[in-house]
C-alpha cells in the first residue's frame, strides 16, 4: 500500500509563482523517504498541501488511500507533521502543547496525559514538561514539535528539516529515535539540507527541482548513478608535485594531500597501483564531498536563469 500517492499536483500562488508543475510521487508504506531539493524547489509547498496547510491548484493527493478532496479528515488523521519553522505556543507549557494537540485529534484528556508522558520521555523533555515553550532551547523546541506530531500515533510522519540548527549530539540521538519509530512501522518523509542525514537514514529518495521530481529511486541505486567521485588522499610523506598516474587526474592540494577523480568506468586499484609505483604511501582516504551531495548538485545544476523562487522550500 502507498502511504502517499501524488498525481499531477499543481500549485500556483496568487502572485503567479508556479511552485509545483504537475508533480507525481509515490511513497510506499513503511518507507523512510528523503525528499530533497534546493530552496524554492517546492518541497514545503508539497508538504503544505499534504498536511492541508496549503490549498492545491490541481491534482490528486491520497494518504493511505484517503483522497484529500473527498476524505480530508481521514487523510489528516493519518499524518503527523513537524514543520520547518517553529510553530509552538510560546506561552503554553510543554505538556499542554502536546496534550492540546492530542485533543484536536480526538484523544481524551486521560489518553493524552498517558501518551504525553511516553512521547516527552522519548524525546527527553519530560523534565521540562511544566516549562513554557519560550523557555526551551532551539533543539528542545524541535524535539517538542516531534513529540507533538507523534501524539496521535500517525501512520505517516513528515519532517521538514527537523534537525536544522540542532547540535551534532542531539541530531545523532534524533536519528536513532527516527530509525526506531520507522522500524516500528511509521512511514517517514524527511526533507533536509544535510544530505549526509538523508543518505544515512533514508531507503528511497526523490529530488524535486523547479516544481517537478527530477530523480526518484532507491538510495543505493541513486548513488550508483554518479558519473564520477572525488577522493582526498592523505600521504604519509610530503610531496612537492602531483604524481602522474596514467588515466587519472590527480591534483596536489598541499604537500600531504592529493585529490583524485575516479569515474564510473575506473577503479581505485589503478590509483593505488600508480601511487605505489611512485613510492607514495597513502595513510587515509575520504570522499571530498558527500556522495549524495555530488549527485544533488549534478541533478539540480542550472545557469541561474530559470525563474525559480517559490514561497517555501
Amino acid at each position: 500500500m502507498l502511504a502517499l500517492a501524488v498525481r499531477n499536483l499543481v500549485k500556483t500562488y496568487p502572485n503567479g509563482t508556479q511552485a509545483l508543475r504537475g508533480l507525481d510521487l509515490d511513497v510506499p508504506q513503511g518507507d523512510f523517504f528523503a525528499l530533497l531539493g534546493p530552496n524554492g524547489a517546492g518541497k514545503t509547498t508539497l508538504i503544505g498541501i499534504v498536511t492541508a496547510l496549503v490549498n492545491k491548484t490541481a491534482g490528486e493527493v491520497r494518504v493511505f488511500g484517503h483522497d484529500l478532496d473527498t476524505a480530508r479528515d481521514d487523510a489528516r488523521a493519518c499524518v503527523g507533521v513537524v514543520p520547518q519553522e517553529i510553530n509552538i505556543n510560546y506561552w503554553d507549557s510543554v505538556q499542554n502543547i502536546v496534550t492540546t494537540q492530542a485533543g484536536f485529534y480526538g484523544m481524551t484528556p486521560r489518553q493524552a496525559r498517558v501518551r504525553a508522558e511516553a512521547c516527552l520521555k522519548q524525546l527527553h523533555l519530560w523534565d521540562r514538561r511544566r516549562d513554557s515553550g519560550r523557555s526551551l532551547s532551539g533543539g528542545m523546541k524541535r524535539r517538542l514539535m516531534i513529540a507533538r506530531a507523534l501524539m496521535h500515533q500517525p501512520r505517516l510522519l513528515i519532517l521538514d528539516e527537523p534537525t536544522a540548527g540542532v547540535d551534532i549530539e542531539i541530531r545523532r540521538s534524533m536519528w536513532e529515535f527516527l530509525r526506531e519509530i520507522n522500524a516500528a512501522g511509521t512511514t517517514i518523509i524527511l526533507t533536509t539540507h544535510y544530505l549526509e542525514e538523508a543518505e544515512c537514514l533514508c531507503r528511497h529518495v526523490a529530488i524535486i527541482d523547479n516544481g517537478r521530481i527530477v530523480e526518484r529511486d532507491a538510495m543505493v541505486r541513486v548513488l550508483r548513478k554518479r558519473q564520477a567521485e572525488v577522493f582526498v588522499l592523505d600521504l604519509r610523506d610530503p610531496v612537492r608535485a602531483a604524481p602522474v598516474v596514467p588515466g587519472y587526474e590527480i591534483v596536489l592540494v598541499n604537500e600531504h594531500e592529493l585529490e583524485v577523480e575516479v569515474t564510473r568506468e575506473q577503479d581505485l586499484n589503478g590509483v593505488f597501483a600508480g601511487l605505489d609505483a611512485a613510492g607514495l604511501r597513502v595513510v587515509s582516504m575520504r570522499n571530498k564531498a558527500n556522495r549524495l551531495e555530488e549527485l544533488f548538485m549534478q541533478l539540480t545544476a542550472r545557469d541561474g536563469t530559470d525563474g525559480r523562487g517559490g514561497q517555501g522550500g
Partner: protein, 257 residues
C-alpha cells in the same frame, strides 16, 4: 471523523481558550471591572444625580444593563480577535489546521471561548455595579439569553476580523472605529426617546441598540425596541456571521496559502 472526535476537539479548544482567559485575568477580567467602576462613579453618581430619573429608574440603575452589555460586546470580540490572530501570527494555529477538526468545531470553539470571556466579564462588572446601585432582574430568561446571544454575535465578529487581518492595525481598526462608536450610540447611556426623530430612526440601524435594549428589558422591564425584533436581529446576525466564518475557514481565507 466521528462526532465523538469532534466533541473532544471542541472541548479541548474551549478549555484552551478558557484557561487563557483565566490565566491572564489581570488583562482579561480586571480592566472592564475598573472601567465600569469609573463609569458608575462619574456618570452614575457625579453626573447622574443631576440628570435625575430615566425610564422610571435612577440614572445609575438605568445605565447598569448598558454598561454590562458594552463590556460583554468589547470583550467577547477582543478575546477571539487576540487569541485567533496571535495563533495565526505565531503559526500555532497550524496545530488545528493539520488536525481532523471540522470547520464547525473550530468556529464553535472560538465562539464559545469568546462567550466565556464575555460572561466572565459580565460577572465581574455586575459585581462592581452592585457596589454603586441596585440591580433588578425582571425577566431572567431574557437577561441570560440576550447576553449569551450577544456574546456569540461579537465573538463571531471577532473571528472574522482575525481571519481577515494581516497585521496588528487590522485587528484594532474595527474595535476603535466601529464597535466603540456603535456601543456609545446604542442607548447605553440614554433612551433613544430623548433623541430627535431623525436620530431615533437612524439609531434603529444600529444593531447594538437592540442588544442593549433587550438586555435592559430583561433587567429593568423597559426598552426602546420590541423584544421580538431584538431577538430577530441578534439571532439573525449570529446566524449570518457563523455562516461567514464557516465559509472563510473552509476556503482557508487568510489562514491557508
Amino acid at each position: 471523523m466521528s462526532l465523538r472526535v469532534q466533541f473532544i476537539a471542541l472541548y479541548t479548544l474551549v478549555r484552551k481558550e478558557a484557561t487563557r482567559v483565566f490565566r491572564i485575568w489581570l488583562q482579561t477580567l480586571m480592566p472592564p471591572a475598573v472601567t465600569t467602576a469609573l463609569y458608575f462613579l462619574i456618570f452614575g453618581h457625579l453626573i447622574g444625580r443631576r440628570i435625575g430619573r430615566m425610564g422610571g429608574f435612577d440614572y445609575a440603575e438605568f445605565i447598569a444593563p448598558g454598561l454590562i452589555m458594552m463590556q460583554v460586546i468589547t470583550n467577547a470580540y477582543g478575546n477571539v480577535v487576540s487569541s485567533f490572530f496571535s495563533a495565526k501570527m505565531q503559526r500555532h494555529l497550524e496545530e488545528m489546521l493539520v488536525a481532523p477538526m471540522a470547520t464547525w468545531t473550530i468556529v464553535l470553539g472560538y465562539m464559545l471561548g469568546g462567550v466565556l470571556r464575555g460572561l466572565g466579564v459580565a460577572a465581574a462588572v455586575t459585581a462592581v455595579a452592585l457596589v454603586f446601585t441596585r440591580l433588578h432582574v425582571a425577566h431572567l430568561l431574557v437577561t441570560v439569553s440576550v447576553i449569551v446571544l450577544t456574546a456569540c454575535v461579537f465573538a463571531l465578529g471577532g473571528l472574522i476580523n482575525a481571519i481577515l487581518a494581516d497585521n496588528f492595525d487590522d485587528v484594532s481598526i474595527i474595535p476603535s472605529f466601529v464597535l466603540t462608536p456603535l456601543s456609545y450610540l446604542g442607548g447605553v447611556f440614554y433612551s433613544i426617546a430623548l433623541l430627535p426623530e431623525f436620530a431615533q430612526r437612524l439609531s434603529l440601524f444600529n444593531p447594538i441598540l437592540y442588544m442593549v435594549n433587550a438586555f435592559r428589558y430583561g433587567m429593568l422591564g423597559v426598552a426602546d425596541v420590541g423584544l421580538g425584533t431584538a431577538y430577530a436581529v441578534i439571532i439573525g446576525f449570529a446566524a449570518v456571521l457563523f455562516a461567514i466564518c464557516m465559509v472563510l475557514i473552509d476556503r482557508g481565507t487568510g489562514i491557508r496559502s
